[in-house]
Amino acid sequence: MAEVKQPDGVQIDLISGERMEGLASMEKIRMILDGVREGNIVILEEGLSPEEESRLIEVTMTEISPDEFNGIEIETYPSSDSGKSGLFDRLMGNDSDKKLTVIGPANRIETLHKDETLIQTLVSRR
């Protein structure tokens, strides 16, 4: 059988806020982890809610397996107005923490620099 040559590169999935909006929390987490476990870098236009981030960590932990999947690297900009939104804002769903989020396999992505306006990452090939 002829050997199928895999392209030597890194796939980046840029996922719009609109695409994520209609998904349930677990559907979002599944979509992210499926992409990351295939070796892709997933970039979310609007990030996840704190509750979803908590579940993402939990589900990631259940999927870690020696020599196969070491977990994820995730980066968002530090929240500049963290803690300022009141209970009323949250009750009304006015989340001010929708921030671009980069997620990748822990063994392939390394954060070089991060500040309030810039995230620099190094992505290695397979």
Binding site: E58, S82, L87, R90
Partner: protein, 215 residues
């Protein structure tokens, strides 16, 4: 989260606060691996309980604590009043666990793989406690390390989104490289208290603040 779910959760939290006088508050000790969470939990328990048994073993190897452990009815006395809390020591939170890192600590491969599996279960357990089972958080950071990490940002965000009272502790101030100001700059919206859980430095202020935040 929807309006109704948010309302229900807020009402439920308010009701549990109003009617929970009889039960001690469960205070989770959270933070990244190797911040000194168990050292702090052990110091609190040894300082304020009769028998002073350790909550768990302390170690410089990451993920020494791989199960959440609760020490009930720790009575802290401040200014003639007694504040009773349950101390919940939790595994350090991370988004990745690589068993090969444990091999660097002279561990056999089988032990390293087992430790990494237990560590992942522990992190998942810690996240579950945070969402469901704690009434307040002591967030412990190693003051010699950069606090601007994604895990810290996410966890503080999760704690804030649940309206849990949180006290940030800058641990390991006995070490030369410690910078409390760096932690204050990272989380200016919260109060940061310096301490050395290992040496017992500044514990009086820590207990004052525990009574103030969780009493």
């Amino acid at each position: 989260m929807g309006l109704i779910t948010n309302l229900r959760s807020s009402i439920s939290r308010a009701a549990s606060t109003l009617f929970a006088d009889a039960e001690p508050k469960r205070i989770g000790i959270y933070g990244p691996p190797n911040a000194g969470k168990t050292t702090l939990a052990n110091r609190i328990v040894r300082d304020w309980t009769e028998h002073g048994d350790a909550v768990g073993p302390e170690s410089h190897i990451p993920h020494e604590t791989r199960r959440a452990r609760r020490k009930e009815n720790v009575e802290i006395e401040r200014d003639g009043k007694t504040v009773t809390i349950d101390v919940v020591d939790t595994p350090g939170v991370t988004t990745k666990v690589d068993y090969t890192e444990f091999l660097e600590h002279d561990m056999e491969e089988d032990d390293a793989v087992r430790r990494s599996r237990e560590a992942t279960e522990g992190v998942a357990e810690a996240m579950h406690w945070l969402r469901e089972d704690v009434d307040g958080v002591i967030y412990v950071l190693d003051a010699t390390q950069d606090p601007f990490t994604q895990v810290n940002t996410m966890l503080i965000g999760i704690i804030e989104s649940q309206d849990l009272p949180v006290l940030i502790l800058a641990n390991k101030i006995d070490l030369e490289d410690a910078s409390v100001q760096r932690i204050r700059n990272a989380f200016p919206q919260h109060e940061t208290i310096p301490l050395s859980a290992l040496e017992g430095d500044n514990m009086d202020e820590v207990y004052d603040k525990i009574a103030e935040y969780f009493g």
